[in-house]
Each structure stands twice: as structure tokens, then as C-alpha cells.
Amino acid sequence: MKKALKPAEAAEMIPDGAVLLVGGFMGVGSPHRLIDAILTRGQRDLTIVNNDTAMPDRGVGRLVCAGLVSKVITSHIGLNPVTQQKMIAGEIDVELVPQGTLVERIRAGGVGLGGVLTATGVGTLVAEGKQTIEIDGETFLIEKPIRGDFALLACERADYVGNLEYTLTAHNFNPIMALAGETVIAEPHHIVPLGMIPPDAVKTPGVLVDHLLERAH
């Protein structure tokens, strides 16, 4: 059974320089209270892995704007001009990864695969400096697995074992990132007693989750 943490307690665990896998797509399905707590604590030199850098005032975009982030691994920065400005100014390192490749690289890191063989990006800038392999006459890029020191997830419901349910477009990267964080912290909207989530409804089994954030008050 897992005791639910206060946001400040969770943020306390994260050191400067940590690699954070953060769920969310344009901030939808991001752990907003955890992000608040990190902003308060003010870690430096973070690496953020997220689908996008959201907007300056939303989701992981706020961490970028606050200057806490030295690197992002992401598929899209188009709606956060601050990420682009910092990239051009050399203040932040941006690794752009096709969205499907990004989620598979995280999955590979989480399920113990050596990499991802994908046709996406072959013949483009994405392929530069990467090994390719020919299989049955087709060419594939070899993309490396991604893991994080922490996975910071948002979810709809949790029980005290750590089983998680997600809803609608707030799933996005969360269930996959749950596999690939050394320490996994989930921020649920609701926490329910043990036995309330039927086994078939569980999308992230509690064995993957290290800590729950307490409910919002």
C-alpha cells in the first residue's frame, strides 16, 4: 500500500539534473500540481521528455519558461515560442523526435528492448548520425530506448496499491511513461479504496507506481 504524498514531498525527491518523463499532450493529461511543486522548489538543469513543450503558461512549458530546463526531448515546440527563443539563444538543447518514434523509444526503455526499428524518419534530418539496418529489403532507423530518472504522470483514478485509470485524451504518453521511470510518481484526480477499480479497468498496474500524490483539496 502506498501513502499519498504532498506535492512538496514529491518535488523534494527530485534532484537537480534529473531526467523527467512528463505525461501530457499540450498540457492535457499533465501532472499540473507536481509541476507547480517543482516550480516552487526550483530544481536546475532538468531534462524534460514530453510530447511537446505546451505553451508558456501551461504544463511543462512553465518549467521551460522558468529556466529550470537545460534539455528537452520532444516532438513539437511550435506553440511555445519561449522554447524556440531559448533554443536559438543556445540556452536549451532541443532533441526533436517524431511523435510515434518518441513513444516507442520510451516503451522500449520501459519493456527492456534494445531499440526501435522504424521507417519513420528514413532519408530525413532525423536519420542523421543514426545507424540504419536493412531487413528483408526495407531500410529502418535504429532508434535508442529512452528512460527517465522519474516519470511524472497524471491519471483519473488510483487505488492505494497504485493501480491507475486514465480518461479520454488525457491518456497520451502517461501509460507508456509509467514503464520507463526509475521512480514513478502519479498524480490522480481521485484516490479510491482498494478493490474499487476492477482488474479489467486497470491500465497501469500498481507494481509500476512508486508514489501517489494526495488528492487536490
Binding site: F25, M26, G27, V28, G29, N51, D52, T74, S75, H76, I77, G78, L79, Q84, M87, L96, P98, Q99, G100, T101, V103, E104, R107, T118, A119, T120, G121, V122, G123, T124, L125, V126, E156, Y166, T167, L168, T169, A170, H171, N172, F173, N174, P175, I176, K203
Partner: protein, 217 residues
């Protein structure tokens, strides 16, 4: 009728009943407005919903149900919420019948460039590289020229999205199909003659005498 409406209405006629379709943000998203009533199509948004519906009435938005651009949407009966691994599994695994994407350039090989202008605009590829690599049919919906310059060029000068030939290019002036022999003019825009199309197209074009005028939805 403006150029975008012509394009959206022509692309709408490519949507086949019972198919799974992904519409890019911007111009491609207009296609949904021109489908015949009752046509049984499922729209996928790559952030994780199959069965995307219209914008909800004011006050009925849900923060956890958005499209890939972050706009509020609804879900149709029979919709499914999926995570990013499933979403891109569908895209990359050939389960998506059609994607409609915007374009910066398409060249004589049928290769698309649509994700960056070096030094000027680097939003990132998002899901575009996966969509072009994986969808069964790739339609490019774009205006024929930008700032007086043809967007249909002998060879893309902007970074490629993929080295896979797109299925069809739809502009306000023409429907063009990339083939082994080169770019083939299939249809003329409303009231547009072949000479006008040639003049507006930097790439070489195969122009059958009898290319018909496009029919709009």
C-alpha cells in the same frame, strides 16, 4: 469561394465510407465540414481519440477531450480513447486509411516537406513524419503558391518529412498525382485552364489534354 474552401471541398470527396481518417490542423481540419450527412467515417486525432466529433456547445467542454491542436472536441457514439502507443501503432502499422496534411513543398518525386523552415520556423515534426511514413493514403492539401512562388517544385529545398511518395496533391488550381512517370495533372480547379496551372507550377507536369474540372463536395 476562396482557395481553402475549394481545397477542403475537393478533399472531402476522397473520404471513403467506413474509413479511418486523420486530419491535420489548419486547412486539413476544414475537410470535416464538407462530408455528406451520415457518411460513416471515423476521425482519429493522434493525441488519442478515434471518433472525434464536433466542437462541444459552450459550457460543455471537457478539459480531457481535445484534438491534436488542443481545441475542445466531442466524441461520437462508438468512440475509443487510446494512448499514444496505440495511436501511433495505428498510424505506423498501416491501419489509418488516409491522412490529410498541409504542405510547404511537394516535389517531382512526390516527396513532401512540411515541418520546418531552417533558421526561420522550427516547430518540430509532431506526428507528421509518422503519418507520411505509415498512412495508407497521404493527401497533401495546400494552396498552390505562397508569396507568388510555386509550392510544387522540382526538388524540395526544405527538409523532407519522409522519402515516401504522397498519394495525391490537392490545391485550389489542380489535383495532381505523383506517379512513376512524374507529376500527373488529374483535374483542373474550377474555371482554371491548363496553362494557368503550368504557369503556377515550378515542377514539370504531365498534362493530359482531357483533364476534367474538379467536382466539389
Amino acid at each position: 469561394m476562396d482557395a481553402k474552401e475549394i481545397i477542403a471541398r475537393r478533399v472531402a470527396r476522397e473520404v471513403r465510407p467506413g474509413s479511418l481518417v486523420n486530419l491535420g490542423i489548419g486547412l486539413p481540419s476544414l475537410v470535416a465540414n464538407h462530408l455528406p450527412q451520415g457518411v460513416n467515417v471515423f476521425f482519429q486525432a493522434e493525441n488519442g481519440v478515434i471518433g472525434l466529433g464536433a466542437r462541444p456547445p459552450e459550457g460543455m467542454e471537457d478539459e480531457n477531450l481535445t484534438d491534436a491542436g488542443g481545441g475542445f472536441v466531442t466524441a461520437v457514439p462508438g468512440a475509443a480513447s487510446i494512448d499514444s502507443a496505440m495511436s501511433f501503432g495505428l498510424i505506423r502499422g498501416g491501419h489509418l486509411d488516409m491522412t490529410v496534411l498541409g504542405g510547404l513543398q511537394v516535389d517531382a518525386r512526390g516527396y513532401l516537406a512540411n515541418w520546418m523552415v531552417p533558421g526561420r520556423m522550427v516547430p518540430g515534426m509532431g506526428g507528421a513524419m509518422d503519418l507520411v511514413a505509415g498512412a495508407r493514403r497521404v493527401l497533401v492539401a495546400m494552396v498552390h503558391t505562397a508569396r507568388g512562388e510555386s509550392k510544387i517544385v522540382p526538388e524540395c529545398t526544405l527538409p523532407l518529412t519522409a522519402t515516401r511518395r504522397v498519394s495525391l496533391i490537392v490545391t485550389e488550381l489542380a489535383v495532381i498525382e505523383p506517379t512513376d512517370a512524374g507529376l500527373l495533372l488529374r483535374e483542373r480547379g474550377p474555371g482554371v485552364d491548363v496553362e494557368t496551372i503550368r504557369a503556377a507550377t515550378a515542377a514539370q507536369l504531365i498534362t493530359p489534354e482531357d483533364a476534367p474540372e474538379m467536382v466539389l463536395a
